[in-house]
Amino acid sequence: MTFLKSRETILAAAIVVLIALIATRFPGFIAPANLVMVFTDTSPLMILAMGQMVVILTRCIDLSVAANLALTGMVCAMINVAMPGLPIAVIVAISILMGAALGAINGVLVWKLNIPPIVVTLGTMTIFRGVIFLLTDGKWINAHEMSAAFTGVPRTSLLGMPVLGWVSVLVAVVMVIVMARTTLGRAIYAVGGNPHAAVYTGIDVGKTQFLAFTISGMLAGLTGYLWIARYSVAYVDIAGGFELDVVAACVIGGISIAGGAGTVIGTLLGALFLGVIKNALPVVDISPFWQLAISGAAIIIAVAFNAQSGRTKGRIILKSAEHAQ
């Protein structure tokens, strides 16, 4: 427990130091309103990273999240254009269901056909983008075509923070509970930690991976609606390359690429770390030619720190066995 605590504490401290450094160059950055804005801006990344975390914990990877987001978002936008009166709650439900269905496709391919996840999701990533082409002929859906409610909901302010930010808080709470307090959550850790032992305890490894992909897809779908509504535009390339940010957030957050180790809080901090950098670079007046190099270096430094603190003697599947060693 102390080890878990220290890893997240280090990352949280790194974020605080980072924010303090930024504040020396741009004091407005630490204004509460701005911090709320940064949090809100990072929300899509946090939600996607939590889905990705689940997948990585089971020793898989989901590269199709950004494409899933784009496809689901585009479908939501098209539904909105066709039926402007449809309540937003229905659209949100559709986005979650559709995202889950797309994620389940990945899951089935990994589970039933035993194709390596990186291959499966590279394929579906391209397929999803291709489907958007087929649906739209490459046309954009623009702000004036969407209904005011559709674009308005994520930016509605609730207790000083836009709904978009609250959605990520809600997802985080649910995910913490799922990962720590449900059979599924523990099965996910077991499958990633030691698949062979997991089989002996009666866990279906393939099925758990399938469920992990479905969760990831579900969250990607939800983010799809939020993303399209936030930027009020839908086109094929939306969130292009974003899957790499999502994986980076997980890695920074201490999710072991080898599976089985990592926490929701770590993932959130990893996403926030990236979010702070992304939001700070435009205001600290650094040459844009340096920005890419700086964000890359920040990621490597963060991971190096994590690797240092993350060396463990072994992985723990059963909490009760922890003290028996």
Partner: protein, 329 residues
């Protein structure tokens, strides 16, 4: 009666043009920066229009799925293998495509670039949508027209290596002297990604509280900047302008986040590129400095010392005419 007359004139026109092409269709490939961008979809429409007018011409509209030079090289290699008659390319990189395009020319394929050019070695002629000087002047004029007392403006560009945007910004800086009181406080890059452009625009408003206008000479950037201005509650304070498509900017014009913006007509551009490619491929015209080449309904263009020509002036869209254009492209 009228129809018959029309048919005859079409037949005559087709006969005139079809002469040197022989029975087989001439295949002209329109290679764009990436598929799925509204601007290029509209250009393809114009190319089809030109093909119809010319007769005996087949348009191959193609491009990579993301804006990379590597993707375009692949596409062009496959076009060479298909032995098309002409390639008209809007490039993602000035130099990277040159070797591949040279190979195409060695195989007898007519190569022109349009919109975003390639280096002189890599093409026979280049068609600019407008002249860079006119565009550079236009984007600053759009901002200055709404700032009679002067003020601060910032530029939100695409990527740091975008050929087009860099030239336009250079040209803009050259004419800054004509707009006293207008100060360019910063140039930032949104990489043509909605989320990064949005963040950069928000950053501009934070680091320059007195900012009066954001000039975004890129269609993704201008939309994202308008949304960022609206979300920050700065409508009326910060005017977003630059280059964008009417369909994509209609919302921003309605909300007031953008007072006006400019773009040439991409349909005309696709049309002219096809006409130019056809003229060169049929050897009806020769690509050499000073050559005057007729490009159908767009009139005549004159090639300069680098075999480049300008099609027309950019056109300004605002609240008065946006409704007429937003459904077109």
């Amino acid at each position: 009666m009228k129809l018959a007359k029309l048919m005859t004139s079409v037949a005559v026109a087709a006969g005139l043009f079809a002469g040197p092409v022989s029975a087989e269709d001439m295949r002209i490939a329109l290679v764009v920066k990436a598929l799925g961008i509204g601007f290029f979809e509209a250009a393809a429409e114009g190319a089809e229009e030109a093909a119809k007018e010319l007769g005996g011409v087949e348009i191959i509209y193609t491009g990579p799925t993301d804006t990379t030079a590597e993707g375009q090289i692949e596409v062009i290699n496959s076009l060479i293998a298909q032995q098309v008659d002409a390639i008209a390319v809007s490039s993602n990189d000035t130099d990277a495509l040159v070797p591949t395009l040279k190979k195409a020319m060695q195989r007898g394929i007519t190569v022109i670039s349009w919109d975003s050019g390639v280096a002189e070695d890599g093409r026979m002629a280049h068609l600019n949508p407008s002249s860079n000087a006119l565009i550079g002047n236009m984007i600053i004029k759009l901002a200055a027209d709404h700032l009679p007392e002067g003020g601060q403006v910032a530029v939100l560009s695409a990527t740091t290596t975008s050929t087009n945007q860099n030239i336009w910004i250079d040209e803009m800086n050259k004419v800054m002297g004509n707009y006293p009181g207008i100060e360019v406080v910063s140039t930032v890059y949104g990489d043509d990604l909605a989320d990064k452009s949005y963040r950069e625009a928000t950053g501009l408003m934070q680091s320059h509280p007195d900012l009066d206008a954001i000039i975004a000479p890129t269609s993704v950037g201008i939309v994202a900047a308008a949304q960022a201005v609206a979300d920050a509650g700065n409508i009326g304070k910060v005017n977003v302008t630059g280059l964008g498509l009417p369909s994509e900017m209609a919302g921003a014009i309605d909300s007031g986040a953008s007072k006006s913006f400019a773009i040439w007509n991409p349909i005309d551009l696709g049309y002219s590129a096809t006409m130019l490619a056809h003229q060169l491929a049929t050897e009806a015209a020769k690509a050499e400095p000073g050559a005057e080449i007729a490009i159908g309904r767009m009139g005549t263009i004159t090639l300069d010392d680098t075999n480049a020509a300008a099609m027309a002036d950019p056109f300004v869209y605002d609240a008065s005419n946006i409704a007429d254009f937003k459904d077109i492209f």
